[in-house]
Subunit: 303 residues, 2 copies
Amino acid sequence: MARLLSLVEDAHPALPEVMAALAPHGGRAHVIGLTGAPGVGKSTTTSALITAFRQAGRRVGVLAVDPSSPFSGGALLGDRIRMEQHATDPDVFIRSVASRGHLGGLSFATPQALRVLDAAGFDVVLVETVGVGQSEVEVAARADTTVVILAPGMGDGVQAAKAGILEIGDVFVVNKADRDGADDTVRELRHMIQLGNREHSVDWRTPVVRTVASRGDGIPELVDCLAAHRDWLQESGRLETRRRERARAEIEAIAVAELRRRMGGDGGPVPDDLASSVAAGTTDVYAAARRVVERLTREPRRQ
Amino acid sequence: MARLLSLVEDAHPALPEVMAALAPHGGRAHVIGLTGAPGVGKSTTTSALITAFRQAGRRVGVLAVDPSSPFSGGALLGDRIRMEQHATDPDVFIRSVASRGHLGGLSFATPQALRVLDAAGFDVVLVETVGVGQSEVEVAARADTTVVILAPGMGDGVQAAKAGILEIGDVFVVNKADRDGADDTVRELRHMIQLGNREHSVDWRTPVVRTVASRGDGIPELVDCLAAHRDWLQESGRLETRRRERARAEIEAIAVAELRRRMGGDGGPVPDDLASSVAAGTTDVYAAARRVVERLTREPRRQ
C-alpha cells in the first residue's frame, strides 16, 4: 500500500492502470476530514479518534496532508512521530501526503490516495489538514464528514482560520476545553454557525463537541456525532451527492494535470520567448495564454 | 484602481482587454513577497516597511493575500484595519486579495493584481501571504524578493512552517527579536539556511535580520537588505529570469482557467452521470478524465 501511495504522490505513469484496477473496490470507508489552525490539537484529536475506532474494532487509515513541502518535495515527520503509538497496529495505516511539485498538487494527490485506502478496506479514513491555505481547506471540505477543530484563546490566527473554515464544518470540536475561555469559544462558535451555516441548519444540526483530546475526554461524544452525520448523509441522499462532487473534483484535477502536462507543466515549455515577452510587456498575458490554449487544443494527442 | 482589482478578483470578461492595455506599463515596481506563519507579525512588519518606504518618498502598494475565504468569497478585514494608519496617505494603496471560487484561485488573481499595481506606478509592491498552504507559499515565492518572517518561541506550528518556507526566502526576518529565544531562532535559522539553500549560497548570502517591527527596530536594516537583493537580482540577470518565470506561471494559470471554464469550471458539467459513475466505481477516474480532456481538445472553441 505504501508503494501504491508513492505512485500517487509521484503521479507515476502506471497510476491510471492502478486506479482502473481499484475502481470497483471503493465506496465503503467513511471519509472524515479534520482541519484547524496550527496548535489546536489536530494530531492529538486524530490520535484519540484512532484509539476509539480501534476499540470498536474498526480499521483506520490516516492521511496527514502536509502543506509545507511544495518546494522540498518531502513530508514532515512530526505527525507521524506523534502517532507512533499506533505504528505497531496492523489495522492502522498512517501516511503523510506531500504534493511533489505543482502538477495538480493536493487536489490531485489526496483523492487518489483516499481511493487507495478505501479500496484496501479501511472502515474509516481520516484526512488531517492544516486549516489554513486554499488547497488545504478544499481538501478537507471534500470528505464525507468535515470536522473543524478549534481551541480557546488562540488569538488572531484562529479567528482568521475560523472565518475560512466555518462554512465547511459538519461537526465542530472545541479542543483543550479545560482551558480558560472555552465557554466563550463554544458560545461564539454556536453563534457563528447559526448565522452562517444555512445549508446545514435546514436538516443537520451542526454539533459543537468539547474535548480534551490528550486525555480522551469528549472523544466518545465526537465518535457518536460522526456516526450520526454518516447516518444523516446516507438517509438524506447527501452521501451520494458529496461523493459525486468529490469524484467530479478528482476528474477535473486529473484532466487539468494532463492538460498542464501537455502544456509542459512545471516550469516547462510555455515557450521561454513567450514568457519573456510577457515579462517585458510586449505581449499581453491573455494573448499569450490564448496562444497556449489554442496550440494545446489543436494539436493531436502527443503521448 | 480598486475597480480594476475587482475585475481581477471576479475574473471579469473585460479582463483580457484591461490586461492588454496595461501590458506596456509594467516592470518598474520592486515586488516583495512577505510570508510567515500566523502570529509572527507579518502585518506589523508590512506596516513598518510601508512607513520606511514612504519616508524615502516611495509609493507603496500592498496586496494582502487572504487564504481564509475559498468558500465565503469575502476577504478578512483584519489586515486592512491594522493598516488603517496608512489609509489617508494617497501614495499608499492596500488591498486584500480573495480568490472568488476556485477558477484559478490565488495563482490566477495575484499576478494580475500585481500587474495592476505595477502599471499604476507604485515603486514597491508588497505581497503579504500567510506562510502555510500550498498556493499561498507559491504566491510568495513568485515575488522578485521573498522575505520569510519568523518569531522566537512559536512552537511546532512555526517549526512546520519553517520547513516549507525555508527554501523560498531571499531575506529572513526574526521578528519580536527582544523575546527570549531569539538568539536560538537566529542560530537555528542560519544553520538551516546553510544546509538547505544551495542556489542562493553560491552568489547571494541570504541575510537574517532581527526586528521588533512594532517599534520599528531593525526596519532600516531590512530595507537595506531588500535594496541589496534588488541590486543583486539586476546585476546577476536573475531579475529577468524570475520575472520570466512569474510570467510563465501567470500564462499557465490563465490558460488553465480558460480550459477549466471550457470544462464547465467550478461544480460545472463534468457531466453528472460521469461523476456519479466514478463515485460508484463503475468508471475509473482516469478514463473519465481522459474523456473530459478529449472532448475539450477536440471541440471547436465555444465562446
